[in-house]
């Protein structure tokens, strides 16, 4: 036995559930991190886009001659330079437009030697427009005499979704209470702190390197290529550090091919970077929707049916926004046990802004409706039949092993525990009763408490043929580990989780694990950061790769130590005896011995993890995620009935997280997700006037700031998901989804008024209180 292992014993410990620091945090704390916004390449030119700034118009002529003459301008392009190039979900969008269909439309672009010159050149482009009457709502778009927005879509009809299960007429007949409301969910936007940016660079062989903020580097190539007329194989995507994403970068948007076209034609790298106003006007929004929801229930408090008819303003082009019904219908069919389902959704083209994916993906909108209906039932059943509100929720809460009408298989379901935990921790039942009684009393300030829950996919969502993620893991002669993963880091913290998982398996400190995940030429395929999938999918992949490496090392060590591999383990940088932790050999020494022998045995393993989920099909009947999770939020509010101001004082959350992996990252995602939902519920709203955004600034678009945040109490329920890494489930979207209806239900508890149309801004609340007073008196 070597001297350095004599008498050394290392106990088995686990990192799972511990607080692991984000590896990139120190560089960010000292301002050293290089964001894409900060990048300057040698020979780089600056691209700038001329946006139409009007919602619907013919382009009569474009005169670029003055701009071209300006010193320092290399190139001006318009739609005529980019014929036949298409992008978007149904290829209804183009990098540069020959007709204006919405305010943001890209009409021309410039490449110049400085941003100032590019900006000056943009002003010299003379465009003559003929304004056309526009369509500014889905309803108007469906009118017989509405102008047609997109050539290939008569009647302005865009995507359409349908799902039916069971006999609706029969279920209605068997219902004692039927609720019927229309919820209008408004426009909000991501407001990533780092504005949108792309840097494109072609090499002499015609291969494009694009520095991008994208969340899905591999499919991105497939979507970008037709917008450039090149082969997807000729695109390399590099993802420098990005200032947030939240779903905003899950598609290709015109500025990206524009940067690439400018780079291709000038032979120089070209950077396009939005300023904040451009960011507000030209980024995707959350999909707005008018949700006509009907829900039935018996007087025993058993849900009988849900029917939802969703009308969506598609805007001028189709990105991910109008596809959100795929998730909306999972909520309709899966948020509590509902036997009969009737779901319809129609998207209608208009001259408004268009929506993309956004944290919560349709579920923010739908849960705002379904969770309020649940609360309305609970109120009515409590009033008429004396039913305890929590009992009502529990009666309808699914249990492990249940399958929803869309065939979501709820393998481990702890909705009931989430409900009882949050209710007990917040003293929900008592407070709810007290505030209900106080609701009709005189007094300026009213307190309320509100409960909401929801379900969301927590093991990816198989909307592509593969929902997998590749991992390559290598170890060097110093026992340092490099993990090359397809999973992207956008600030959410997969870097910490992967290094944690790999160190858990290989017994090395997390700091000794390096992640390589920002270059599509290096990384194996992954479907992207979305659907709360990354810890689940990439975490599983990293774990499986690490286990392979461990097996390889232990097999080699077992020969040396003359014991079976099963009797050995990796801990604290050593190969040890599993039973007593007695050190056998230092890990780096072991790796060198494996390496430097006649037949070298080097640790280089790979894995492609594909979750055991089923592809989302046209019939929408599939177990599309490898796991599902629930969360319950209980919000406590104070409403100033004079001013209509709603102050959220405290939120108690209980969420099925499967198992806590990195507690620090988990808490961070919970809190941040909640802030998004809070802004959506109370203050954030994009205000449009005939397709023009009236508040494209942080002054006028009210993102929550620190004083608006409530106290947050978190309860993590560990359902121990069989398929998830160490039992974990995906977690990051539910906090955004559940909070808004919890606040709405709390405001109802305080005031007796339902708010079907967020945001619950002071003027809306004050007006509703005033109207109620008029009606009551």
């Amino acid at each position: 036995m070597a001297e350095d292992v004599a008498f050394k014993h290392i106990e088995k410990t686990s990192l799972i559930g511990k607080r692991i620091k984000k590896p990139d945090a120190p560089a960010k704390a000292i301002g050293k991190t290089r964001y894409i916004n900060d990048m300057v390449l040698p020979q780089m030119l600056y691209g700038k886009i001329l946006h139409a700034g009007r919602p619907h118009a013919e382009i009569i002529s474009i005169d670029t001659s003055e701009a071209e003459k300006l010193a320092g301008v290399h190139l001006v392009i318009t739609a005529k330079d980019t014929p036949d190039l298409k992008l978007g979900f149904v290829k209804d969008n183009a990098p540069l437009k020959s007709k204006v269909l919405c305010e943001r439309d890209e009409v021309a672009a410039v490449a110049a030697e400085s941003e100032a010159i590019a900006a000056a050149a943009i002003k010299l482009i003379k465009v003559s427009y003929k304004d056309l009457p526009g369509v500014f709502s889905a309803k108007d778009g469906l009118k017989k005499d509405a102008p047609q927005i997109q050539e290939n879509f008569p009647g302005n009809k865009s995507l359409k979704f349908k799902f039916k299960h069971g006999d609706l007429a029969e279920a209605e007949a068997g219902s004692d209470i039927i609720l019927d409301h229309v919820f209008n969910v408004h426009y909000v936007t991501h407001c990533c702190m780092g504005t949108s940016c792309a840097i494109a660079d072609f090499d002499h062989n015609g291969k494009l390197t694009i520095y991008s903020q994208t969340q899905y580097p591999y499919n991105y190539k497939m979507d970008l290529a037709p917008a450039l007329g090149i082969d997807p194989g000729d695109i390399r995507v590099i993802q420098p550090t990005t200032g947030g994403s939240f779903g905003a970068k899950l598609d290709v948007y015109p500025y990206e091919p524009v940067a690439a076209i400018l780079a291709q034609k000038t032979g120089r790298p070209v950077k396009v970077l939005f300023d904040r106003e451009e960011e507000f006007i030209n980024s995707p929004t959350r999909q707005p929707a008018a949700i006509h929801l009907r829900t039935g229930c018996t007087s025993d408090g058993i849900l009988t049916f849900r029917s939802a008819d969703v009308l969506m303003d598609n805007g001028a082009y189709t990105s991910w926004g109008p596809t959100v019904p795929v998730i909306m219908m999972r909520t309709v069919s899966g948020h509590y046990r509902v036997p009969v389902i009737d779901f319809k959704a129609q998207a209608v083209y208009s001259n408004n802004a268009y929506a993309g994916s956004f944290r919560g993906y349709g579920n923010v909108q739908m849960t705002y409706a379904t969770a309020q209906h649940m609360d309305m039932f609970a109120e009515e059943l409590s009033e008429k039949h004396g039913m305890d509100p929590i009992e009502f929720h529990l009666k309808n809460a699914q249990k492990s092993g249940e399958v929803t009408p869309q065939k979501s298989y709820l393998r481990e379901c702890v909705l009931a525990e989430c409900l009882t935990t949050a209710a007990a921790a917040s003293d929900y039942v008592n407070k709810h009763k007290t505030y209900t009684e106080a609701c009709t009393e005189e007094g300026r300030y009213k307190r309320g408490i509100g409960l909401a829950s929801s379900i969301h996919n927590a093991g990816g969502a198989k909307i592509h043929k593969s929902d997998g993620c590749g991992t390559i893991l290598k170890m060097d002669d110093y026992a340092r580990v490099t993990v090359i993963t397809g999973a992207s880091e956008i600030g959410q913290g997969i870097d910490a989780v992967i290094s944690q998982i790999v160190s858990e398996e290989l017994g090395v400190p997390p700091e000794h694990v390096t992640l390589v995940n920002n270059d599509s030429d290096i990384g194996p395929w992954d479907v992207g950061v979305h659907a709360s999938r990354t810890t689940f999918i990439a975490g599983n992949g990293a774990k499986r790769a690490a286990i392979k490496a461990k097996k390889q090392i232990l097999a080699a060590a077992s020969k040396q130590a003359n014991v079976t591999a099963e009797e050995l383990d990796l801990r604290g940088g050593y190969v040890v005896q599993d039973k007593d932790g007695a050190a056998v050999i230092r890990l780096d020494r072991m790796l060198r011995q494996m390496h430097f022998q006649p037949t070298p045995d080097v640790v280089m393993v790979s894995d492609y993890y594909e979750p055991n989920s089923e592809l989302e099909g046209k019939d929408h009947i599939s177990d599309h995620s490898a796991a599902y999770s629930h969360a319950v939020h209980i919000a406590e509010v104070v409403v100033d009935t004079y001013t209509g101001e709603v102050k959220v004082e405290k939120v108690t959350m209980a969420q099925d997280v499967g198992r806590v992996i990195n507690r620090m990252g988990l808490e961070a995602q919970m809190e941040g997700g909640l802030a998004f939902g809070l802004g959506f519920a109370l203050s954030e709203e994009m205000i449009f006037e005939e397709g023009r955004l009236l508040n494209p600034s942080f002054r006028d678009y009210k993102v929550p700031t620190a004083p608006e945040m409530p106290e947050i109490e978190m309860h993590f329920i560990e359902s121990d998901c069989e398929e998830g890494p160490y039992g974990a489930k995906g977690i990051a979207e539910l906090p955004t989804i559940v909070i808004a209806p919890a606040i709405a239900n709390a405001v109802y508890n305080a005031t007796g008024i339902r708010f079907l149309n967020p945001p619950m801004s002071p003027e809306k609340v004050a007006r509703a209180i005033w109207e109620k007073k008029q009606a009551d008196s």
Binding site: L694, R699, A766
Partner: protein, 331 residues
Amino acid sequence: MTAPKKDFDFARPKTIEQLYNLVQECQHEGRQFIFSAGGTDIMPNLKSEILSPDIVISLTGLRALNNIEKQGDHIIIGALTSLSELCSNNNIQKYLPALARAAHKVASPQIRNRATIGGNIMVENRCSYINQSPINRESHSPCFKIGGDVCHLVKSAKRGDDILCQARFVSDTAPLLLLQNSTVNIIGPAGSKEIKLADLYLNDGIESKSLMHGEIITHIKVEITENSLSHYEKLTIRNALDFPSLGVAALRRGNGDISVALTGLNTRPGVFHAKLENHETSDDMIVDICRKANDFTVTYQQDFFPRGYRKNMISVFIRRAINKILEGAKS
């Protein structure tokens, strides 16, 4: 980088004399100039191309204008005193605590470190059609405030009307200063003068201040009112960053008379009084003030809070401010 779209020259004279030499030079050469104090309001307007001067003349070099002094029954505040200095100044905290409160409610800590009291009382009127990106503004036809021929709020407005522009007055500090009978010292190419602060404000959103081009405010002279109590309340969606959708300063004089001043509603601030009768602040006095305030208000949709809501909030906020004062009077 999104620096101001039009390059401008910049100068920071150190004395009033240098300042006016420069002004004279500019006038002689036909160069458009604007003055900048803290610049926190000017810079966004330069970047949005609402202003496009040839030269920005910074006043921050005029160190002599950065001071606060008590002189008898007045406080003299140098126009270049930063809002954060104002908040933390002993004399202000002692004699004009509501002014400190109002200054503290402006924008954000970082901005208060830069923004000045002179700049705040001179802050440019705002409108949701003006304070926009140039491209958005250009897609609407240009409005009166940027030299066009239309108002998007009052569609019937036409040149020659008394009030062309409804851009609203948004200073947080002016209301209280008005209640304290403040005067402002002004110097300009034609010499110096002292005017009532109330006379600084005009009815129109374009020419909203009576300061002539080339004039600057050097000092604000604030009356200390014996045995008075005052307060400032501000309506915003968020606690930081927001301009007042409505601001109410209230003052109760030693003799029991009550005055309030409003900001955020109209093209200029409004001041209203109620005289004490029967030795006690009565609800009638408050109702009277609220009625006057409501009559004064001609809010348009210049803010993202709808006009009806802001109008309804006037009484709520006046009561809130007065009640705070009365609570203070009891304790």
